[in-house]
Amino acid sequence: MWLTMTLLGAGGFAASGLIGMVGNRRRNWGHWLSVLVAVLAALCGLTAAMAILLGAPVESLAGPGPAPVMTTNLRLDPLAAFFLVPIFLIGGLCSLYGIGYWKQSHHPRTGRKLRFWYGILISSMAMITLSNNGICFLFAWELMAISTFFLIATEDFKPDSRQAAWVYLAAAHISTLLLFAFFALLRMASGSFLLRPLSPEQAGMGLQTALFLLALGAFGVKAGMVPLHFWLPEAHANAPSHVSATLSGTTIKMGIFGLLRVLPLLPARPLGWGILVMTLGALSAFLGVLWAIGQHDLKKLLAYHSVENIGIILLGLGLALIGEAKHQPIWIILGMAGCLLHVWNHGLFKSLLFLSAGSVIHAAGTRKIDRLGGLAQSMPLTSNLFLLGAIAICGLPPLNGFVSELFIYVGLLRTMTVLPILALAAGVLAMVGALAAACFTKVCGAVFLGTARTKLRRVREAGPAFWLPMMILAGGCLLIGMAPTLVATPLNRTTSAWAHRGLPALVALTPLTALTIMNLSLAAVLLVAFLLRRFLARQARTQPTWNCGYAGSSSRMQYTASSLAQMLLGTLRPLLRMRRREPRLSGLFAGPGQFHSHVDDPVLKNVLEPGWRRLRSVLANGRVFQRGNVQSYLFYMLLMLLFLLLITLPLGALWKILF
C-alpha cells in the first residue's frame, strides 16, 4: 500500500508537470492547478515515506518492463524512504514557491516549460530511489539528468544559462556513461540486472574495486564531490531560485543515494575505500567553503556551500565504511547517522537559503552581493529566515546542522582508541565550521545588515507564496535542532537496513537527551535575551553610527563583502587562485580606480578548459573526414559494415581460403 502511495506521489508530480504545460500563456490558472496537484502528490508521498521510516515493512513490486528483455523491479525500503522525504517535501514546497517566484503571467515564455521539467525531475528522482533494477535505475537517472538540463536552461535566452546547462549536460553524461559501465559489469558478475548483493565468489577483489571506483566517479559527479564539482556552481547559480533549491536540496543528494544504494552490493569493504571516501569528503568540505568565501554572487556562493556540505556528508559515509572494514558497529551507526541526517538537514537549510536568496533577487533584481545591503530594513521576514538558515548551515547550536555534525564529530572522536589518525578529520571539520561561519557572517552582513550600497528599485517584503514554504523549512530546521530524539528512530532503522545487521541504538551513543535539554535551554536563553533587547531598545536613543567624529559618512564607506573576505583570503592565498585587477594610480591626484578580485574554480579554469582546448585542437585533425556531403557518410557506413562483416568471419578460415 505504501509503495502504491509513493508511486502515486511520483506519478502526481509527473502529472503536475503535464498539467503545467497546458493553460494560457498569460493566465495563471494552469500554474495553480499544477501546483495543487504537486502539493497533493507531495503529501501522499511524504505519508508513505514516513510510514516506512517509522517501521512499516519493506514493500516491493515486479512487473513487465518497457521492452521484452526488461522487467520493472521496484522496492520501497528504509533507505529509499529516507531520501523520498526530502524529495517530496522540498519538491512540494519549491513548487509552491514557484507560484510567487515564477508566475506564469510574468514569465509567459518559460513558465510552462519550467513546470513540465520540474514535475518530471521530482518524479524521476522518486523513481531512482525506488528502482531495484539496473535498467530502471539508469532510465530514471537519465530522465533526471535531462530534466535538470532543461531546468538549468530555463532562461535559454541568457548566454550564462546556456553555458551552465551545457557544462552540466557534459558532466551528467560522464556520470551516465560511468553508470552504464557499472551496471554492465554488475550484470556480468551477477547475471542479472537486479540490485542484489554479490557474493564473494561472483566477483574478485579487482572487479569489486573497479565497480567501487566507477560508482564513486558516477555518483561523485552528481553529488558535486571535489574535483568533479566543476558543473555545480554555475548550474545552481543560473537556474531559477526555486529550482536551485531543489537541485541543491535533493538532486545532488541522489549522488549520495546512489553510493549508499550500490555499496551494500559489494561484499568486500577494504579499509582503503573508506579512507578514499573520507579524504575526498574532507577535501570537498574544505575547498568548497574556501571557494565559497571568495564569491561575489549570492547564489554561486550558496552553490559552493553545497560542495562543502556534500563533503561533510561524505566524511560521515567514509567513517561508516571504515567502520565496516574494521568491524566497529559504533562507527557505522554514528557515521551513517551523521551522513543521513546531514542529507535531510542540508536539504532543509540549503533550500531555505536558496529560497530566501530568491526572494532577495526577486525584490532587488540582482544577485551581486556587493550591490545589496540593508535589506533587513525592508524585508525583515526574509532576512530573519535567511539568518536562521545561515546559523543552521554553519552547524551552530541550537539548530539542526549542529546535530548532524555532532554525530560525525562524536563518531570521529570514537575512533581514538583504534585508529586515532582519523580523529584529525575532526580538526578539518572544525576549520570548515569556522570558515562557513566566516562566510555566512559576510553574506548576512553584506546583504541584509548595514545600509543599502546601491540605489535599488523599491524593495518590498515578499508575499505569502514566498514565505510560507520558507517558514515550513525553517520549522524543520528548528524541530530537528530542538528535538533530535525525533529522528533517532528513522536513522536507526535506515542505518540497520543499510548495514544489514543489528546496530547499537543511536540514543545510547549520542547525548540526544542532553542535547535536547541544552538546545532547548539555549533557545530559551536566546528568547530571554531577545525580550531583554526589546526592553532596552524601547528606552534607547537613536543616533547615527559613530564614525570617529566624521559626520558625513555614506553607505559607500561601509565594508563590502569583498573587503570583509579579503584578509582571510589573503591569508589562505597559497590555496586559492585569485585573479586581481588593481587600479593603476598615477599623478598627484589620482583619478577614480576600480579594484576587482575573483576566485576562479581551479578545476574548470585550469584543468578542464585548457585540457578541452588541447583535445579539440588534436581532434581538429579528424575534420578531413567530415565532408558534409551524404555520399561520403554513406561510404563510411559501407566501410564500417565491411569491417564488421570481416571481424565476424573466423579469421583462421579466412587465412586458409586466401593462402
Binding site: 533587513a376 530594513q377 539568518l387 546559523i391 554553519c394 547550536p397 555532532l406 564529530y409 562524536v410 572522536l413 570514537r414 581514538m416 586515532p420 580523529a423 584529525l424 575532526a426 580538526g427 572544525a430 576549520m431 565550521g433 569556522a434 561561519a437 566566516a438 557572517t441 559576510k442 548576512c444 552582513g445 545588515l449 548595514g450 551513543l509 547525548p511 542532553a514 542535547l515 541544552m518 535551554s521 539555549l522 536563553v525 535575551a529 531577545f530 531583554l532 533587547r533 532596552l536 531598545a537 528606552q539 534607547a540 536613543r541 537613536t542 543616533q543 553610527t545 559613530w546 564614525n547 553607505s555 564607506m557 561601509q558 565594508y559 573587503s563 570583509l564 584578509m567 582571510l568 591569508t571
Partner: protein, 306 residues
C-alpha cells in the same frame, strides 16, 4: 549534597569571578610599568556604572545589533557551565559536550560579528574582517587541543577529560604532549580574549583595534554585557588551560578548591606579564601565530599516536 554544593559553587564562581581577572591583568601591567594602576575591582565598578546608563542605538541597526551582546553573553555563560571550574565535574556534562562548548563560543562570535556589520561603519567592518580571519584559525587550534585531551583521557566529556576521577598515568610522552597543548591553548586563549600580542585592549586608534572596534557602537547595559561576556570567556578558557597545567585531582577536595581561584588569578597574572613584556604582532603575522598554535597542538596529538 557534595555535588550540589560544588555545582552551586561553580555557578557562583562563573558569575562572580570573571570581572576580577581583567583587574588582575591590569594590576600586573601597572606593577610592571611602575604605576599604581586602577583598583583591582575596577571592572566591577565599570559594569555597575554602565548598567545605570541609557542605551544609544545607531539608526541603521536592526534587532541583531542590540541582541548580539546578550546572545554572546548567554552563549559564553552556557559554555562556561560545561567546563569544570574546580576538581569536580562541571554543572552540565555529557558525552560530546566538548563540541557543544566550541560551537557555543562560535555562536557568540557569529552574532558579535553580525552586530558589527549591522552598524554599517567601516571601522567595525575592519574589526569584523579581522575577527573572522583569526577565528578561522583559532577554532581548529582549540579543537586540536581538545583532541589531545580526548586521546589522553579516552573520554568525550570536558568534565572527565579535564579533571576529576581520571587516573591517567602521565608518562613523559603524555607530559610532552600536554606541554605543547598548553602552549597552543594559551595562544588560543590570547586570541579568543583579544589580548596582546594579538590585540591590544588599550589601543586608542580605531584603525588598529580588533575586539574593541567590534563593539564600538555599544553603550550602557549592552556594552556592559560585552565587557562581562569577554571576561567570562577569559575565565572559561583560563579554567581549561589551568586544568591542562595543573592536575587538580590529587589530594583533599577542599585543597583543590582552594587551588582553583588562585590558579585562575595566576593565569590572569601570566597574561598580564605577557602583555607587559611583549609588543603587539603585526596584523598580518597573527594568522601565522595561530597556525603555529594549531601545529603545536597537532604535534602534541601526533606524539600520542606512537
Amino acid at each position: 549534597m557534595n555535588t550540589l554544593i560544588s555545582i552551586a559553587f561553580q555557578i557562583l564562581l562563573l558569575v562572580l569571578l570573571p570581572p576580577l581577572l581583567p583587574g588582575v591583568i591590569n594590576k600586573t601591567k601597572a606593577w610592571f610599568a611602575g604605576r599604581v594602576g586602577p583598583p583591582l575591582f575596577q571592572t566591577y565598578y565599570d559594569l555597575l556604572r554602565l548598567m545605570r546608563k541609557g542605551v544609544v542605538l545607531s539608526s541603521t541597526t536592526t534587532w541583531v545589533f542590540s541582541a548580539a551582546p546578550l546572545i554572546s553573553l548567554a552563549s559564553v555563560l552556557l559554555a562556561g557551565l560545561l567546563v569544570p571550574l574546580g576538581p569536580t565535574a562541571a554543572p552540565v556534562h555529557f558525552t560530546g559536550d566538548l563540541i557543544l562548548f566550541a560551537y557555543l563560543l562560535a555562536l557568540g562570535r557569529f552574532f558579535t560579528i553580525l552586530a558589527a556589520l549591522d552598524t554599517g561603519s567601516s571601522f567595525e567592518g575592519m574589526g569584523a574582517a579581522r575577527e573572522l580571519t583569526f577565528a578561522s584559525f583559532s577554532e581548529p587550534a582549540l579543537f586540536l587541543a581538545l583532541l589531545v585531551l580526548v586521546k589522553l583521557s579516552g573520554t568525550l566529556s570536558l568534565s572527565t577529560m579535564l579533571a576529576p576521577a581520571t587516573h591517567v598515568a602521565i608518562d613523559s610522552t603524555a607530559a610532552a604532549a600536554l606541554v605543547l597543548t598548553a602552549f597552543g591553548l594559551f595562544v588560543v586563549l590570547l586570541a579568543e580574549t583579544s589580548r596582546l600580542p594579538i590585540d591590544d585592549p588599550n589601543t586608542h586608534l580605531e584603525l588598529t583595534m580588533i575586539h574593541e572596534v567590534l563593539v564600538l557602537d555599544n553603550s550602557g547595559p549592552l556594552l556592559a554585557a560585552q565587557i562581562y561576556g569577554s571576561a567570562v570567556k577569559l575565565l572559561v578558557l583560563g579554567a581549561l588551560l589551568l586544568h591542562v597545567l595543573l592536575p587538580l585531582n590529587q589530594g583533599w577536595i577542599w585543597e583543590n578548591w582552594a587551588m582553583t581561584i588562585p590558579g585562575l588569578l595566576a593565569v590572569a597574572g601570566v597574561i598580564g606579564v605577557v602583555e607587559s613584556i611583549m609588543a603587539r604582532l603585526q596584523l598580518r603575522l597573527v594568522p601565522t601565530l595561530l597556525v603555529a598554535a594549531c601545529l603545536l597542538n597537532g604535534f602534541g596529538f601526533l606524539l600520542l599516536l606512537r
